[in-house]
């Protein structure tokens, strides 16, 4: 099968890879580029554990063809911490134990960051609706929602 050569930007770094035309971006992230922070839960866009942003917009990487991302900008969970410094959401999730098994956590963090960039002062209802596409099989939603709300409050007072 003829491989496609794709040039893109991932977490600010110019990146090139080869892919099959039908390969998903999630597959390339995990299996070609070694970026295994994005998880495959369902592979059909239902669970949100593979969430990335594509040109700043939250999406499921399992529903994006790798061939599509040429010339676009991707961020993944690996780009969330700055060196050793965790993003405030990551720090708060640790402090408040807003995770159990951790499989959904990278996707939840990506989605929550995307929410706070758009809406720095979300209500609990807004958080719950925004994160409705991130399924947690441990059903730990309550701590996740509280951690997002608390992070939002801290980020506002720090701003």
């Amino acid at each position: 099968m003829a491989k496609l050569h794709v040039t893109t930007t991932i977490n600010g770094e110019p990146t090139e890879f080869l892919c099959d035309p039908s390969q998903s971006m999630l597959d390339v992230l995990r299996n070609s580029l070694g970026l295994t922070g994005s998880k495959e839960g369902c592979g059909t866009g239902d669970c949100g554990s593979c969430s990335i942003t594509l040109d700043g917009r939250l999406t499921c990487s399992c529903l994006v063809l790798a061939a599509e991302v040429g010339g676009h900008e991707i961020t993944t969970i690996e780009g969330m911490a700055q060196g050793d410094e965790l993003h405030p959401l990551q720090q708060k999730f640790l402090e408040m134990a807003a995770l159990q098994c951790g499989i959904c956590t990278p996707g939840v963090l990506m989605a929550a960051r995307s929410l706070l960039e758009k809406n720095p002062e979300p209500t609990e209802t807004e958080v719950r609706f925004w994160l409705a596409g991130n399924l947690c099989r441990c059903t730990g939603y309550d701590k996740i929602v509280r951690a997002v709300l608390e992070t939002a409050a801290e980020m506002r007072s720090a701003a």
Binding site: M1, D46, T59, V64, W130
Partner: protein
């Protein structure tokens, strides 16, 4: 696996030529929220994937001088929601499109894809039918237009001819005193497929309905335009008699199936309830009360 080709043509003409040349073995890719799932499940095996997102006409939203809107077939729900004007003029169409899937899905999924997928339960379609949207379709024999309600012909089947591509939607200019709304019944609060969906668009003057359209989803093999329901609303002040008659017309139009989401009896009853509730919201919007 056979060789799959990925093409992202920059113009509609090139897309039409590539689609025709593939002789039915190609699939159009907009947001991919249906196509990639179908490919993964082995339901489709496209020889060529034609990504239409590099075609400006198919990814743009334009408000014309006369007040009509063009919405390209590949415009995502999230992009449409961020348009400064669209949701003010067509709140019902926008809320219907924004009900499709999660935040992640909204970042990719389009009204064009929702329509072309051909589901009788597609949320955006009853609202588009109520809005009187007109489709532009391009194919090897040029362009043609069609009212949106003529597009679906059965579950998963559309009236696109071989080699034709849906280019986008034209929503007509909106007279003063107009409002629309879409409501669906789901047993959850979010992320589900409509058991029944109803879109209503009204134009009112002095409390009297001067124009109405009603779209009904998930209650027949295709989304339906319910002209009988609209007819009894026109000329009324949305009094109980008119609403009851329109609700009855909505139920009468139902030809649903029994399935895990709902029974025939339930869907037929809920169609009437949603008609009344959606009409009330559309009326409030038409009269500037919401």
């Amino acid at each position: 696996m056979t060789d799959i080709r990925y093409l992202a043509p920059p113009t509609l003409d090139e897309a039409v030529r590539a689609f025709a040349a593939a002789q039915g073995a190609a699939r159009i890719l907009a947001g991919g929220t249906d196509l990639l799932v179908q490919m993964r499940n082995g339901m489709v095996h496209p020889g060529t994937i034609i990504d239409i997102k590099k075609i400006p006409e198919m990814t743009s939203i334009t408000e014309a001088a006369d007040g009509s809107f063009w919405v390209g077939a590949a415009v995502s729900g999230a992009v449409l929601a961020e348009h400064p004007r669209f949701g003010k003029v067509w709140p019902g169409v926008l809320e219907a499109i924004n009900l499709i899937g999660s935040t992640q899905v909204q970042g990719r999924a389009s009204a064009g894809g929702n329509l072309c997928h051909g589901s009788p339960a597609a949320d955006s379609v009853p609202a588009m039918v109520a809005a009187g949207a007109v489709l532009t379709i391009a194919g090897p024999n040029g362009r043609r237009t069609m009212p949106v309600e003529a597009f679906p012909v059965g579950p998963g089947r559309t009236s696109l001819a071989a080699g034709e591509i849906l280019v986008g939607f034209t929503l007509p200019a909106r007279p003063a005193g107009s409002g629309d709304a879409y409501l669906r019944m789901i047993p959850r609060t979010e992320m589900d497929i409509a058991v029944v969906g109803v879109g209503v668009s009204l134009t009112m003057a002095g409390g009297v309905v001067t124009a109405a359209r009603v779209g009904l989803g998930a209650a027949a093999p295709t989304v339906l335009l319910v002209a009988d329901a609209a007819k009894v609303l026109v000329g009324s002040k949305l009094d109980d008699a008119a609403l009851n008659a329109a609700a009855a017309a909505c139920s009468a139009a139902c030809k649903p199936i029994d399935d895990k989401r709902g029974t025939i009896v339930y869907r037929t009853k809920v169609a009437a309830v949603l008609l009344k509730r959606a009409a009330a919201i559309a009326a409030d919007r038409a009269q500037g009360r919401a």
